[in-house]
């Protein structure tokens, strides 16, 4: 419930609650905890790669396990639950309903995440977040691999339940006076990403089961030794996870759509074009999955089809950028912490998108594929755009959740350090990829350019690490002892804080 910490309750009241803000708070805290855990793994990877040779991680197997759990954690246990946290807090309020459509289902969807996280972390599998067969079938050590498969299975069910809940809440429970075109863009972003989840995820759920029976030796779907085809897994996997990329990015864009008009003191330039871009992206996003697979030996025709499909998704993203910039144009912008993060996110969004166009241009894929370019590219998306939008929104919702104000100066420092660090790590990694360094390597030959660029990236990662410590300190201190926020207008913008901020959802 809102302003939790101003009026403490026993923890079990929150844990066993089905109220949307309580479930939202659980999502929020869980996702942030996993963000720090996954981030710590990232720092150990960067520390290991600072010099060629073994540094702090004893052996290659441990390293492989670390990057696998790093990726799995940050995608499935940070970004997705964080989006659900925001959705839980704000979607019911935005559609003016008392709660989520199915409160118990909502709580169940959340409570699937801790056991799944435990399976992933206690197993510590090593076959990358992509679990590529036949390696994952014939070579990956169990029980870690099996625990990972079960963990992902549970997370998949949780995502589907959450998606159903958002779709029903938005479409069926919105206030009768409110036409769907007047639903705020953040809620629209949850609607479109939930629809993508519903269409895309069952494919991977099936692939996971097939992978498991393959591992048990009961079947041979992906095992060439018994006539299976590993490329089939690649298709099933990417059919889910290319659209899933949009599931990750669309809510973050929705969050920027809340922040940018607010701090520009103007309405969104064109809400209808934002909605159109969300819907377009969630349809076109299904036409591009095999651009991850050019190097598996696809024919020229297949590659052409998927290149066109990929390029077709670009205008929708470009429309969002236009919308953001046009909203800022002619405004009177206050650069409070949330706005800094949102604008930084837009700036990096362009670079990430441009890198993606390069990857999908067929022959260039043979330069970039599975090199550090790709690592830089998708981290620029997940960190530069998604995390920036999410963290910005976290600062934005902070007064709403806690009734207190975060420390503005520490928030600014967090942004500046993170932005500098992100540019240092991920732009450098693009260039490193052009020099040919493969990804997922524990060690590399002492080529001077590789060493130099790895060191720049590692220093950048440490800067991000420092900024995240500042962030943690700011959050903990401000939650407990922060100055009480002016709940009418926490940033002094001259307008009401966007949402009803009473202790309870006023519709309840």
């Amino acid at each position: 419930m809102v302003m939790e910490l101003a009026r403490p309750r026993p923890i079990w009241q929150i844990m066993f609650s089905t109220h949307h803000t309580d479930v939202g708070l659980l999502y929020l805290i869980t996702s942030l905890a996993f963000m720090f855990m996954g981030g710590a793994l990232a720092l150990s990877i960067r520390a290991e790669l600072f010099f060629p040779g073994a540094q702090i991680i004893g052996d290659a197997m441990t390293f492989n396990r670390i990057f696998t759990v790093h990726g799995t954690t940050l995608i499935f246990l940070f970004i997705l639950p964080f989006a659900s946290a925001v959705g839980n807090y704000f979607v019911p309020i935005m559609v003016r309903y008392k709660d989520m459509a199915y409160p118990k289902l909502n709580a169940i969807a959340f409570w699937m995440i801790p056991p799944a996280g435990a399976l992933i972390w206690l197993g510590f599998a090593d076959f990358t977040w992509y679990a590529t067969p036949p390696y994952s079938v014939i070579s990956a050590p169990g029980p870690a691999a099996d625990m990972w498969i079960f963990g992902l299975k549970i997370l998949g069910v949780s995502s589907i339940l959450g998606a159903i809940n958002f779709i029903v809440t938005i479409l069926k429970c919105k206030h009768p006076d409110m036409p769907i075109s007047k639903v705020p863009l953040l809620a629209w972003s949850f609607l479109s990403s939930s629809l993508i989840v519903l269409v895309a995820l069952p494919t991977f759920a099936a692939a996971l089961l097939m992978l498991l029976t393959d591992r048990l030796g009961a079947s041979g779907f992906f095992n060439p030794a018994v006539g299976g085809d590993p490329i089939a897994y690649a298709h099933l996997f990417w059919f889910t996870f290319h659209p899933e990329v949009y599931v990750l990015v669309i809510p973050a864009i929705g969050m920027m759509y809340e922040i940018i008009p607010r701090f520009s003191r103007k309405p969104i330039f064109s809400a209808s074009s934002g909605i159109a871009a969300f819907v377009l992206l969630s349809i076109v996003g299904f036409a591009s999955w095999a651009h991850h697979m050019y190097a598996t030996g696809m024919s020229f025709t297949e590659k052409t089809v998927f290149m066109v499909g990929t390029l077709a998704a670009v205008p929708a993203s470009a429309m969002h950028v236009f919308n953001f910039l046009a909203t800022m144009w002619g405004g009177r912008i206050r650069f409070s912490t949330p706005m800094l993060w949102a604008v930084g996110g837009i700036a990096l969004f362009f670079s990430a998108g441009a890198g993606g166009v390069v990857n999908s241009a067929m022959p260039l894929d043979f330069v970039t594929h599975d090199s550090y370019w790709v690592v830089g590219h998708f981290h620029l998306f997940v960190m530069g755009t998604i995390l920036f939008g999410s963290v910005g929104y976290l600062y934005y919702m902070f007064p709403y959740v806690t009734g207190r104000m975060y420390n503005e100066r520490l928030g600014n420092i967090h942004f500046v350090l993170s932005f500098v660090g992100t540019v240092m790590v991920f732009f450098t990694q693009h260039v490193l990829g052009l020099f040919g360094m493969p990804r997922r390597v524990y060690d590399y030959p002492p080529i001077p350019e590789w060493i130099a660029m790895n060191q720049i990236a590692s220093v950048g990662a440490m800067i991000i690490g420092v900024s995240m410590v500042i962030f943690l300190a700011n959050m903990l201190h401000s939650t407990a002892r922060g100055r009480p926020a002016d709940m009418d207008d926490p940033w002094g913008l001259g307008a009401k804080y966007y949402y009803p901020y009473e202790r309870k959802n006023p519709q309840h």
């Binding site: 290659a60 197997m61 492989n64 076959f127 990358t128 590529t132 067969p133 036949p134 390696y135 014939i138 070579s139 060439p224 030794a225 085809d229 590993p230 490329i231 309405p267 969104i268 330039f269 064109s270 809400a271 209808s272 074009s273 190097a295 598996t296 030996g297 020229f300 590659k303 052409t304 290149m307 066109v308 390029l311 077709a312 670009v314 205008p315 470009a318 429309m319 236009f322 919308n323 046009a326 166009v357 241009a361 067929m362 022959p363 260039l364 043979f366 330069v367 594929h369 599975d370 090199s371 020099f435 040919g436 493969p438 990804r439 997922r440 390597v441 524990y442 060690d443 590399y444 030959p445």
Partner: protein, 142 residues
């Protein structure tokens, strides 16, 4: 939604689409040229396995971890794998293709001048993926 004109946005979308058409056309064209395998390219069978590369020439010579070719000739690689997926990569010559068990993938190149280049595995394949390396040695034409 507030009485503004959408015209600039349409122009912007038009520019974006035009640029993407250009990117697509250029990429399509270069790929078409690069994929065309010369008739007289010599066959080399490349086999990846955990964690080394085997190269088998047409005359039956087999080498492990070392690929010897002559400058000025074209070579066609038929790439496959014995266990898990690897990715055959000579970065200096922009040669990259996955080695997939049960499939044969084909890519070609023509080295221009003598020299030594690294061969590496670009797809995660397990414990010693990071050191699944080889040498390409381009010799002067005989």
């Amino acid at each position: 939604m507030s009485g503004h004109s959408n015209f600039p946005e349409w122009v912007y979308i038009g520019v974006v689409v035009a640029l993407l058409c250009w990117v697509g056309a250029e990429a399509w064209n270069v790929e078409r040229i690069v994929e065309h395998i010369p008739e007289d390219a010599e066959l080399i069978k490349v086999t990846g396995q955990q964690w080394f590369w085997t190269f088998e020439h047409e005359d039956g010579t087999k080498r492990i971890g070392e690929l010897r070719v002559e400058a000025g000739k074209a070579y066609r690689f038929e790439i496959t794998s014995k266990d898990v997926i690897h990715s055959f990569n000579i970065h200096d010559y922009v040669v990259l293709l996955d080695a997939v068990p049960g499939r044969v993938n084909t890519v070609w190149f023509a080295p221009m001048e003598a020299g030594e280049h690294d061969i590496q595995c670009r797809e995660y394949c397990g414990l010693i993926h990071y050191n699944m390396r080889g040498k390409l040695i381009v010799e002067e034409a005989a």
